[in-house]
Subunit: 344 residues, 2 copies
């Protein structure tokens, strides 16, 4: 056996010295996301919220399949060149993913990390690619506003009022083909930190930013401690969907630990909508939020060399209607991924 | 970069030439499983179906935590020695896993593969360990009869009748510590095949064996094709929870492809109960079924050198109440794991 000690540092973080490249990407967005500030960046903006299907679940499946197919094509590959898919969604028993990819005939590593799933799937796919277990592997996730409301909150027809701390589930699916071969994007995945579950006892499922911010703080500070890396080495530090409430909590918590990241901080949930104009309250959320912000916006900026290093930290709130109704808290989890420009 | 081509063979299968060992195991079972044919093998048989909790979900969480703690102790390790946990359960949004492990402070790779999850978690953990990204990693899953009935079928108090093809969800949690270091068990994980989703259009959620058998056939035959390995090289070929109905379908399908495995075939769902005496119809099912049969029974027989090579193939039915009620079929998935005795 080779000595593998260089591949991890500290308890939770992994280093990929080379060999894990972004080879293809796709962002499929809904109409409302297309009308937001990042609308022009998305590969596909689908105006039909049903994506040609007859149920919300099937529409999410169609959206995810579209994202995977687009990413594989973007990588200059065919389906047969992709060894595995790592992916998941928010719906119970991952049915959006199941029916989204079943016709593709690619083996599935089904993942659930709530809205952290884009981080989790990238992390897992990076380990497979780096370890030599796949040449090309797709990391994918999705969420659909209507499907998520039905799953977690109220039927749309009920017309419930929303507190200001509530977030708006993004309709979108992002996919990345990670590869052992360099692609046209000149971006590589060079490190990752797998997150722990962090539970501060917050029980308000309408304030998910507060539930997830402690997890984001835990993972980000752990990455810095594990690796000795520093905030100033990043052009952007980007969380998934903390929104305006979670953002303030995260910045304060990290500051207490001695990490000042405010000048380079970004949250996909804040970027994706114009909250005032679009009425999205605290911001966007859902697996698709960080996924399409990454694939539509962040990786494109990196590919152009505008940003050289990004710490991407999707955040998830671990609840179900059952756990919530039984009075449980809403624990959070966050996984961190480091992307680096390698075009020079 | 080293040449990694030896690590995979064919499209779906992965070879782990060395360095992935079974270091610790645990099987926690419910009362009914303790009264079944394998009862004497389980580490812990818990007579209280609530596992000291006040909800079915929390009882499953307690059971899973007990399994992980037992496996870590069995490996002669402490929690701090375990880098990651790969695991999941059947409940929507993995709440049994979330609340089971949140107090353990170990980073979580949350997985969903329905009842194939023991295979999926072992496969993922093997890739992390083999790739050098974890020295010790726990693969775990669980199911609880009452929680699963509530999630997928009818409340217990409803007293519904069950068709003969129905299976009985096992109350149990199995955990394995995979390690780069040899342990006392003299068993290593030497290959794995990640399964594709296979959908034959079966829509009967009370006949899950028929839904899953085609997936088991696909993965098993794919493993043989990818690697050139043969049924006669195995002492046992063991599926997860096909039950008596699924068993016949699988054996017939494999026979059509030229693989005769009947003389060494076993199904955890058939082994775990005495169907006639215990009234369990077609057999046991649930993530816990294959998990505790593996950790309680199969790995012990291997450790004693009685069986030298086993092909372990947990099977999952990919449905939710939503997908079922919307008229969808129940696709299947199966992941294959090869264990080998290495005590000589």
């Amino acid at each position: 056996m080779e000595n593998k000690s260089s591949k991890y540092q500290g308890k939770q973080s992994m280093i990929f010295p080379e060999g894990v490249y972004v080879r293809g990407i796709a962002s499929v967005a809904g109409k409302m996301e297309g009308e937001g500030p990042l609308g022009a960046y998305f590969d596909i903006v689908q105006k039909d919220p049903m994506f040609g299907a007859s149920t919300w679940e099937e529409s999410e499946s169609n959206m995810m399949r579209q994202a995977i197919e687009h990413a594989i094509g973007d990588a200059g590959l065919g389906k047969k060149d992709v060894r595995f898919v790592a992916g998941g969604d928010l719906l119970g028993q991952l049915i959006a993913t199941t029916f989204g990819i079943e016709s593709m005939n690619i083996p599935l590593l089904g993942l659930y990390g709530a809205c952290s799933t884009m981080g989790e799937s990238l992390l897992a796919a990076a380990v497979f690619v780096s370890g030599g277990f796949a040449e090309n592997m797709v990391a994918v996730t999705s969420s659909h506003f209507a499907g998520a409301e039905k799953q977690f909150r109220f039927p749309l027809a009920y017309g419930n009022q929303r507190p200001m701390a509530a977030t708006w589930t993004v309709t979108g699916s992002g996919a990345v083909v990670l590869s052992s071969q360099k692609g046209a994007y000149h971006v590589r995945l060079c490190a990752a930190t797998m997150g722990r579950i962090v539970d501060y006892g917050v029980k308000d499922s309408m304030n998910m930013g507060a539930c997830m911010a402690p997890a984001a703080c835990d993972t980000i500070s752990r990455y810095f401690e594990d690796t000795g890396d520093k905030p100033e080495n990043f052009d952007r530090i980007v969380t998934g969907d903390l929104g305006v409430v979670g953002k303030e909590i995260l910045l304060a918590m990290l500051s207490e630990k001695g990490y000042e990241i405010g000048d380079r901080y970004m949250d996909c949930g804040i970027e994706i909508y114009d909250a005032k104009r679009q009425g999205t309250d605290a911001g966007g959320s859902g697996c698709g939020c960080s996924a399409i912000t990454l694939t539509g916006y962040l990786l494109r900026k990196m590919s152009e060399g505008i940003w050289k290093r990004i710490l991407f930290v999707p955040t998830g709130a671990l609840l179900s209607t059952v756990s919530f109704n039984e009075g449980n808290s809403v624990p959070g989890i966050a996984h961190a991924i480091v992307f680096e420009y390698c075009g020079d």
